[in-house]
């Protein structure tokens, strides 16, 4: 919706009642499909949750990285800023971007209105 159709990207859903083994297989296939040799980053919701637990078992230094506690700005950054970046650098950027993009609206408003 925001950045249009993307290559080298898969959304793997996990619902209540979904089988853990099925998610593991889906992730395995998806990693293979999107990996062009430059590595793969798996973005998951919360550390300690099932998607994160399963993803972490694919961790491979320099090859497969897992980032937990992901928000939408991070997903967008991952898709638009990955060109020319190493896996490690992109992961670091995402982590920084993720927390940077959280804001309390009234705080930004008061700062901006104060400036005028």
């Amino acid at each position: 919706m925001i950045v249009g159709r993307m290559e080298g990207f898969r959304a793997c859903s996990f619902f209540q009642g979904s089988e853990v083994d099925k998610l593991r297989k889906t992730l395995k296939t998806s990693i293979k499909e999107v990996n062009t040799g430059q590595g793969v980053i798996i973005l998951t919701d919360m550390f300690g949750g099932t998607p994160s637990n399963i993803s972490l078992s694919f961790l491979e230094e320099g090859e497969i990285e897992v980032i937990t506690g992901v928000n939408l700005p991070m997903v967008i950054t991952a898709l638009t800023k990955r060109e020319g970046k190493s896996l490690k650098d992109l992961a670091q950027t995402l982590k920084e971007q993720g927390s940077h993009n959280i804001s309390i609206a009234s705080e930004i408003l008061s700062t901006n209105i104060g400036k005028k």
Binding site: Q16, G17, E19, V20, D21, G48, G49, T50, N53
Partner: protein, 162 residues
Amino acid sequence: MNVLLVRVDDRFIHGQILESWIPHLKAQNVVVANDELASDHFQKVIMSMAIPERISLRIVPICEALNLSDDCELDDKRTLVIVSSIRDAHELFMQGFIYMKLNIGNNKGSEGAKQISYSVWVDEVDLDMLKELMDRGVEVNLQSVPRERNIDMKTIIGMVSP
């Protein structure tokens, strides 16, 4: 060790446990009794990292769960026990690991098992085991998280049994 609840959950330590069951039970200790997980060092590390530090965690093979009652570090700690299947919950009880409440949360069940809630599947062996546990006074219910409707197994076992 004060066993408040035994839960069947094949995802072991995950969001529902961390965010709902541990706070709801005010658990001070979590025991996962599962042979496969107990021998998987990597998954054990991941799961122990997710548990808040104030809560103790023991991941043991089924046959060692009974020994935990001698673990003086666990003393009378409020404990949540997690197993991956109804079969394991039954085995635990038959070994002498006595508990009063069994909650069935997530299990994929065997091939040909019947779905009785959106996250629980049972076959005939499971049903017989549940009946046996209920006959011995164990309260069995179906519930994913404490805020959700609690279904007493007694009220549906007649309907789901063949």
